[in-house]
Amino acid sequence: MSEQLIVPVMADVVAQGKQPEYLFWVGSAGSFDDRAKKITRAFVKILNKANVDFAVLGIEESSSGDAAKRAGNEFLFQMQAVTNIEVLNAYEVKKIVTCCPHSYNTLKNEYPELGGKYEVFHHTQFIQQLISAGKIKVANNTFKGKKVTFHDPCYLGRANGVYEAPRDLLNFLGVNTTEMKRHKSTSLCCGAGGAQMFKDAEPGDKEINVLRTEDALATQPEIIATGCPFCNTMLTDGVKVKEQEANVQVLDVAELIAASL
């Protein structure tokens, strides 16, 4: 994807006396991780296509503090949260959309007590609204009939009860979805949550991401879809371990939608 994206930055937009309707919270993974950056770009393509009035914080964004909090560093989390809330409140942000279930969870659930009260959407919920409102349409549906399985990110599914939005998007694309044996509330973690993304696993007999990838591969998919940059990394690695990268792609639901516009 090398097309020109329109990415308004909050400071500039506000300087022009405008107030964007949505803040797109990119998140640290979405900003820096090479794989996650593609998801960020895909989502912005959708936002542009649907003419959504949004802006990003850019260099004023900082880690949500999620990883620090799950690791037990409540100090660091609250410092991050309070600092971010100051920025968000200064811009009078009301609605936030993010591609990361971890940012989604902490902004939606843990920021309000610290003074940050916003309406927060995961990008799958947001895209679903755009579709219901008729703001985006499928033009070249290259995925129709493809075999897809969806991996529920823990912080979207169990943590916040969002199971249907990503599945509705897959239905919208007319793909052939097969559920894994463990799905929705019984879904198995990809292995990255709880700050595990940033450390080696404790001694065991298997890596969690490999076990989860085996769950996915059992459905014989062409695409493993998910809605979290960390799950994406873990499952992509898992597919490599199982030497299936020639046959199976790991894609974010937003990437599937963006490629079909």
Binding site: G30, T186, A201
Partner: protein, 435 residues
Amino acid sequence: MQYIDNILFVVLLIGAGWFFAKNVKTLIRNIKLGQDVDRTDNTSERWKNMVKIALGQGKMTRRPVSGLLHIVVYVGFIIINIEVLEIIIDGVFGTHRVFQPLLGNGIYGFLIGVFEVFAFMVLVAVIVFWIRRNVIKIKRFWKDEMKGWPKADANWILYFEMVLMSLFLIMNATDVHFQALNHGNVISQFIAPLFSGLSEATQHLIETSAWWLHIIGIFIFLNYLYYSKHLHILLAFPNTFFANLKPKGQFTNDANVTKEVMLMMDPDADPYAMPEEGADEVLAKFGASDVTDLNWVQLLNAYTCTECGRCTSSCPANLTGKKLSPRKIMMDTRDRLEEVGKNMDANNGVFNDDGKNLFDWITKEEIWACTSCNACVEECPVNIDPLSIITEMRRYLVMEESAAPQELNNMMQNVENNGAPWPYNQMDRLNWVKE
């Protein structure tokens, strides 16, 4: 001397009640050793949860086989308790089947018939449970933490139930008049022929013995609860009532930390200010290193856990061979709490520092293996939350001991220095736009 049976019965009844009340008192005292947490909000939703999850067994059938079998035992247990009421009245007043003339043969026979059917179904279900544990050896019953007492405890409970149900049926089968009446002996009529060769006096002796053993068994079982994983039959109710109602992903914001952070962020705060007169000068402790740092709901959770292991069998860390087992977190918390309680009992109600804490039971390796995926919380049939205990212990390790794994320290340092868990410059946050 004709009242000796009644007196003996009343003594046993009072003894069982007194001992049970004593244990309940200790139980409540121990739970109250936990920190305060407000769970009085949203009472209507709390009642609904209790009715749906505890009374209605709403989460049991997530595993259909064990779930349905459990519902049989549960419903049987409640229904057969109506019969226990009759037994107690008979025992105290020396009557025999006191409800029979009151209700009439028709209704009484119907009730006993229902009890017999349930007793039989419970017996079958309990035998299947025993086979699942001991013959099929379902994995979750054979994890490391289930060795020794927990395994014996589980089997004892099954034997108890088998014996109690058998005694109830034998009691009815050897009640010659009840069999002659042929009302409600739905199951016992098939057992009666086994005894029909015996004289009426011998059958009566067996009936009386079965009656006594049945009620004594119930008294013993009642008092076995406190020492067993079986407390869940009582505590499932308060446990589901007081359980967390917020989204599972929402971790608590430590209020002690908030106080410190707000002070740091406040430009007008005087860092050298003396604490106000009468202010609480006890230094706040962050996270939990012992059971008394946990809140009382977490301690209630520990007593409620019946060690079914649904949590552990869905834990990604455990499924991939790591040491972490959410069930063990709960069992360890209870064992340590019991130890603290006994320490207090031995020292006139005051805890005498024993140089130990919860980390003597739960290792760091277990604590750091958690992915915080909430599978254990989701699976628990009575809404126990092992993840919240793991989180509190992580908080202690990080904020009090600075004892996080090195890689996590690197991650946290990155967040502190450049606002991302990786060592990238915050000024590069928009580079993705141009790529």
